[in-house]
């Protein structure tokens, strides 16, 4: 390849290189806004059919919810990672969000995510649920002590009363106890503060709600 050919080639590849650098720069700069946009779209298109991509799927069909005080464990399917298995809602603050089992970035783009090392509703332990503060869990900023949170699953309809709202560091070891069995405690959290545009947020708004209604899951 002689010098002239090389120079002519440069007219082709240099614009391509700069174009790619330009697109990459724009992607990195605007990715946070794109993520918010996609999450908002997910909020709007709430009634679509599953599967929804990102390896997520749904088993949520609350059609035969028992009215009894107990549910045999054999009737419960422990969801796989990335499975939509419940809905969390609070009428007063206009909260209505799907709950997935697992809390990866992909999951949190589509709804609230339950830490897979925490208990399912009805099991009498700690239920740890995360949601984005710009979309799904934004209504939590208006939540007050005494508000009722409802979790509907395939096997039961659960009600939790908000007993405390705390702002803590994300790594505060006293924020919750995953192994406690004294009471069934819903711990929902999101990044705090809500309005701040910053890098990685280190604080979280933790909502603590105690179960007041819903069937116990029992071993037969």
């Amino acid at each position: 390849m002689n010098k002239r050919t090389k120079r002519l080639m440069a007219y082709a590849y240099m614009p391509l290189v700069f174009m790619l650098i330009g697109y990459l720069t724009m992607y990195i700069a605007f990715k946070p806004f794109l993520d918010i946009g996609f999450s908002v779209a997910d909020l709007v298109i709430a009634n679509r059919e599953f599967p929804i991509g990102d390896g997520l799927h749904s088993i949520f069909q609350p059609v035969n919810i028992t009215e009894s005080d107990t549910v045999p464990m054999s009737e419960i399917v422990i969801p796989e990672y990335g499975t939509h298995y419940a809905e969390i809602s609070c009428d007063r603050i206009n909260l209505s969000v799907p709950i997935y089992f697992g809390d990866s970035k992909e999951v949190l783009r589509h709804g609230a995510g339950q830490y897979m090392g925490s208990e399912l509703p009805g099991f009498g332990g700690t239920i740890l649920i995360a949601g984005h503060n710009t979309t799904f869990f934004l209504p939590l900023k208006d939540l007050e002590k005494g508000d009722l949170l409802r979790i509907v699953t395939n096997y039961g309809d659960y009600e939790y009363e908000t007993i405390a709202i705390k702002i803590l560091d994300h790594d505060d070891p006293k924020a919750f106890d995953l192994l406690q069995r004294e009471r069934e405690l819903l711990v929902a959290y999101t990044c705090y503060p809500f309005e701040a545009i910053s890098g990685v947020k280190t604080q979280r708004l933790f909502v603590y709600a105690e179960r007041i209604n819903g069937p116990d899951v029992i071993e037969e």
């Binding site: 720069t25 422990i78 090392g117 959290y189 910053s198 071993e219």
Partner: protein, 193 residues
């Protein structure tokens, strides 16, 4: 070091998951509870410090045991507890004061155990260098456990936007300074006249 620590914790979790699926799920059996108790035990190192496995790993192990089709037999639980005790003995022989201080050679032994344990029932341990997380998946590819932090980032991270914005600002400033030093602005004025 952090990666290795996370791997160690997952190894202990993997050891608990080496049972063959026999019956449908029916909660945590007495034998499985013995395994969870073994995992929860504290280990005293040569430094006289008592170390325990973080609760998030134990709770993930418990969730896995609750799944349909995952039931550990008594003999399997015995084997698991024996392996857990061996692992605990390895830690006890060190002079670590924190789990993060466990020597690399001990950590390597854990990793080898993990791979062997995983292959028995088709569980796979993988490390993601980007997210710095170790993940355990089953034969179907479904995630069984992760070493990621319990509390996730649930706000929009604008670090990339700030970085790009800063770089562009520096670039524009540098271009302006260069243009001025090279009299590019002055030359344009001359041309206009």
């Amino acid at each position: 070091m952090k990666k290795s620590f996370a791997t160690i914790c997952l190894v202990l979790l993997l050891i608990t998951s080496t049972g063959v699926n026999v019956f449908a799920a029916s909660g945590i059996s007495a034998d499985e509870q013995r395994v969870l108790d073994a995992l929860s035990q504290s280990v005293t190192t040569q430094a006289g410090v008592s170390l325990t496995l973080p609760s998030r790993y134990i709770s993930q192990a418990k969730t896995y045991m609750l799944k349909d089709g995952v039931d550990l037999t008594a003999s399997q639980c015995d084997q698991i507890i024996a392996k857990t005790n061996e692992a605990a003995a390895l830690i006890a022989a060190t002079s670590a004061t924190r789990l993060l201080e466990i020597p690399l050679d001990v950590q390597s032994k854990f990793v080898e155990q993990a791979k062997g344990a995983a292959s028995v029932i088709g569980l796979t341990l993988s490390y993601n260098a980007t997210t710095r997380e170790t993940t355990v998946t089953d034969a179907s590819g479904s995630i069984v456990a992760t070493s990621g932090s319990t509390v996730k980032q649930t706000g929009t991270d604008f670090s990339g936007t700030f970085l790009i914005g800063g770089l562009l600002a520096v670039l524009i400033l540098a271009s302006g300074v260069y243009a001025k030093k090279s009299n590019l602005f002055a030359r344009n004025n001359v041309d206009l006249q």
